[in-house]
């Protein structure tokens, strides 16, 4: 498969909402390409018509009774870690 270019690295970083310092782009490009080259060995594995594995225990539709269970979580404790709170609500920069 084609190697990641500098632009590809910058695009990936942007998609993941990460900013990479100009001086580090080359290093990331080299490292990411080495990792991808290693995992690309899977392209040669013969898999016939096997299906993908999403999970390993075969559980389906885990459900429980639809009722509130009080685990003692306190809104005040949950809000303590929020960077900006106004009137018990999380404040963010304007979106629109």
């Amino acid at each position: 498969m084609a190697k990641l270019t500098r632009d590809d690295v910058l695009k990936l970083a942007h998609l993941a909402r990460i900013e990479i310092d100009e001086s580090e782009i080359d290093r990331y490009q080299t490292e990411l390409n080495e990792i991808l080259k290693y995992v690309e060995q899977l392209q040669n594995v013969d898999v016939d018509d096997l299906l993908p594995t999403d999970q390993v225990t075969g559980l389906t539709n885990v459900s429980r009774e639809d009722k509130v269970i009080d685990y003692g979580y306190k809104p005040a404790d949950l809000l303590k870690n929020v960077p900006a709170v106004v009137d018990n609500q999380i404040k963010v920069k304007r979106i629109l």
Partner: protein, 474 residues
């Protein structure tokens, strides 16, 4: 001579007044302070631990002294949410985070009287195999301070190896309990996927993450597992536990059918490690185990599968760190977009960023089928080979890692070389099967663990074999 007797004896000593929980907690805190130079501990929970100990002692005085781990101090890897201090996952982005609730595993240990005294260092978000990816500090190996303790549960392994506490908790996504246990000469247990609740533990790769104990002996390991295993409403990925206690083990080796994994004994394995594994095999044979070579050809691809699936899940799990609801938030952002980007860029370390970008790439349209889906399919192939092999043998055996503890700095410039440290452990995570590292000897004064694996849900049987192995390798 160890500072600590076995866990049941410690609890009995508290119950019968031979010692107090307060004494045990302060002994542990003193040991932690005396061993700071190993940089195994991120924070101590002095106040909360002493308060809990005082409560236990008061109850014992009143005759209320239930609890299989009464007064036993322990350390949790710092990706467990615990009351009484910060939970950081050794990452700058979570520095200062105060858990609003506590992980189920910690709650269950506390319910049996155990006391969490400190939080251990790890590779940030558990991304690594040496603890060098911690955003805070590098933990040192107790056998040689110029070497790594392994990772990502390096701090937990060092805490137990140094006897700071009688046991610790870790997490294992691709080998993060077993490999540091091997490097530090202790027991490290990765349970069957879904056996222990992950509620309140910071997620890394959700399809392989498990929680498990690190301890000095198999029996202590089994007791801790017995306390933390079992269905929890807060984790919907769980399976039923064994109806018997995990401590109901006798160390039986006679007629145990064990497969020596050929793929793990090849060229890449350090000769010193291979020698110890071969010695373990001959001793097991002497004690009546039936051992034969087995081959699972897809093991060759397990690490490649893991390093697609793991970063894919990591990139998704780390999306929640966006600077809005918790964790580091860039203070001078002028837009939401800038707040996201700056908070994440400043908050995440290099390894997290690498994994996020690899994960984003392998999941992106156009590459999804070639990378992610192909990895999931090869994962199926690997699982099928495990299932086939387990028709013929009850257990698998091999090294935990191809080498002993490597030098600090040796692999930090080449992420791929660091990844190769998981080459013998990641397969158990991909298949969801239980696996354990048991100390088997030293090579050039550095510990080597033997890895034992069993089919899913055969945790008790695996601990039984591990106990037998431990006895003959001592």
């Amino acid at each position: 001579m160890s500072q600590w007797p076995d866990l049941l004896t410690i609890a009995d000593n508290v119950r019968t007044g031979k010692t107090t929980a307060t004494e045990l907690v302060s002994r542990s805190l003193t040991l932690i302070a005396d061993n700071k130079s190993y940089q195994a501990i991120i924070s101590t929970l002095d106040e909360a631990a002493k308060k809990r100990a005082k409560n236990i002692d008061e109850n014992v005085a009143k005759g209320k002294h239930d609890g299989r781990l009464l007064g036993v101090p322990f350390i949790a890897k710092d990706n467990f949410l615990v009351f009484g201090g910060e939970t950081t996952a050794a990452s700058n982005i979570l520095k200062g985070f105060i858990a609003p609730y506590q992980s189920t595993a910690i709650n269950r240990l506390e319910a049996e009287g155990a006391i969490c005294v400190a939080k251990a260092n790890l590779d940030a978000f558990a991304h690594g195999a040496s603890t060098e990816n911690s955003d805070f500090m590098v933990t040192k190996n107790p056998y040689d301070k110029t070497r790594v303790p392994g990772g990502s549960s390096g701090g937990s392994a060092v805490a137990v190896a140094l006897d700071l506490v009688p046991f610790a908790l870790g997490t294992d996504t691709g080998g993060s309990i077993r490999q540091p246990a091997s490097f530090c000469g202790i027991v490290g247990y990765k349970p069957t996927y879904g056996l222990v609740s992950r509620s309140g533990v910071i997620a890394m790769a959700s399809s392989t993450d498990v929680i498990g104990p690190l301890a000095r002996t198999v029996e202590d390991t089994a007791l801790v597992l017995d306390v933390i295993a079992g269905i929890d409403q807060l984790d919907s990925t769980m399976i039923e536990r064994d109806t018997k206690k995990y401590t109901e083990i006798s160390g039986n080796l006679k007629n145990a059918r064990i497969g020596l994994v050929e793929e793990y004994m090849g060229q890449g394995v350090d000769p010193g490690v291979r020698d110890i594994i071969n010695k373990t095999v001959s001793k097991l044979k002497t004690h009546g185990a039936e051992i034969k070579s087995v081959s699972l050809p897809s093991l060759t691809y397990a690490l490649a599968v893991y390093y697609i699936i793991c970063p894919a899940e990591v990139s998704s799990n780390l999306l929640r760190y966006d600077g809005q609801r918790f964790g580091y938030s860039y203070p001078s952002a002028t837009s939401l977009q800038e707040s996201y980007i700056k908070s994440r860029s400043i908050g995440f370390g290099r390894e997290a960023k690498r994994r996020i970008m690899i994960g984003t790439h392998v999941l992106s349209s156009g590459y999804y089928d070639a990378y992610y889906k192909k990895a999931q399919i090869v994962r199926t192939k690997l699982i099928n080979e495990f299932n086939e092999t387990f028709k013929d043998v009850d257990y698998l055996l091999g090294p935990v890692a191809p080498t002993t503890a490597f030098k600090i700095g040796q692999n930090t410039d080449e992420p791929l070389k660091m990844y190769l440290s998981d080459v013998m452990t990641a397969a158990a995570n991909l298949a969801g099967i239980p696996a354990i590292s048991v100390p088997a000897g030293n090579s050039q004064d550095l510990p080597v663990g033997v890895q034992l694996m069993a089919p899913q849900k055969n945790d008790r049987q695996l601990l039984d074999l591990a106990l037998g192995t431990e006895r003959i390798m001592k």
